[in-house]
Amino acid sequence: MCLAVPGRVVEIREEDGTRMGKVDFGGVIKDVCLAYLPDLQEGEYTIVHVGFALQRLDEESARQSLELYRKLGALEEEFGDQWGLAAQQAGERRPPGTEWGAAQ
């Protein structure tokens, strides 16, 4: 949960008066709140934690981290099927209504 993943800002917009954007984490694109980095620009890299951009990052270190996280399977843990993971750990069936891909 404490993992903060680097990504590249691909879109910036206003939503309900708040700076929001889309960030690309090596292929996975997520909505991210950019309010804490008011001068972050499209194309720049940032560290994102639970949907919030918290600090700028340079491109080179962002790429290296992403590559490493991908290798370690950390991106899957961050963005993947959490109920499936928990069910697997518990050695039980996933609870109804948590089918992967369905609105959970």
């Binding site: 309900d16 991210v32 309010a35 370690l72 039980e92």
Partner: protein
Amino acid sequence: MKYLDEFSDPELAKHLVGQIHATATKPWSMMEVCGGQTHTIVRHGIDQLLPDGVQMIHGPGCPVCVTPLEIIDKALEIASQPGVIFCSFGDMLRVPGSGRDLFRIKSEGGDVRVVYSPLDALRLAQENPDRQVVFFGIGFETTAPPNAMTVYQAKKLGIPNFSLLVSHVRVPPAIEAIMQSPDCRVQGFLAAGHVCSVMGTAEYPELADRYRVPIVVTGFEPLDILAGILRTVTQLERGEHVVENAYQRAVRDEGNPAAKAMLEDVFETTDRSWRGIGMIPRSGWRLSERYREWDAEYRFQVRDIATEESTICRSGEVLQGQIKPHECAAFGTLCTPRNPLGATMVSSEGACAAYYLYRRLQTPAAAGTGAVSSGD
């Protein structure tokens, strides 16, 4: 040195390990505060690359592990109420409360949902005006600004059916508590990089000075950790105790001013008990008076609750670096990720889970079967 091949840059790793060996002339013990760092250290066997006597002590920095049982039980109670949509990060699903967990509540028909961001929970509240949506807000200084912003938004947009069950903890008071403990063995700290991305480094010089410990702000990748260890050992050998930033690509001295301002607006510091450790003065945040309406503890009247902790689990000692996970008699036998007795066996950032995942052959139980290794 078999592990070195697994580093992203084995040559650099080898160089750093060599430097650490060349620098250390005495035994030293240092603590990595953050559970993410513990995970990296155990996964890559970094502690086994260090010179004899140079030791990593695993710290209390796993947010899932230190969330007090009382709050977990409150979460479980709220989540089982009809009409409630209870939202959480996935790693809280299997944390044992007094007898059950969120996974069980979902299986029994409770509406528990996993979200990626607290803003997802706020959106659910907007989409379901006839339901109460509660978000489980735990974590250190890195997770607190997102949760603060979410409550700020709920207030600004006037979303009455959203609330936050909040149990945030702060690192500097924990460092202080560890240093004040009579059997403290910690001589230096690797401070948690992403906490400092938000908070900056201003809180640390005073601690480094008062307790005469080096504090090195460190990242999470294997090479970051080796670099952090090298800087700490170098200071210890020279008899220095200053704050160094070994994670400059993500940490500025001033941290993130916008996030800090939001924290100040939405939260106030409070005493907080840490699971397994006990109360640490001023170590937590709760919603300030102005945001009380969005505080789930008030909304659901779950303020007094009886809890029952496992009598076997020694996670408190694990979290304070007093024992290593496999020194707990239940490790790998009574207690496994499938049937965790303590939160430290649940989260991948918990020391027990990290040892179980990456060192399972080194359990005392396995040693008994002759299946083993030299231990550590």
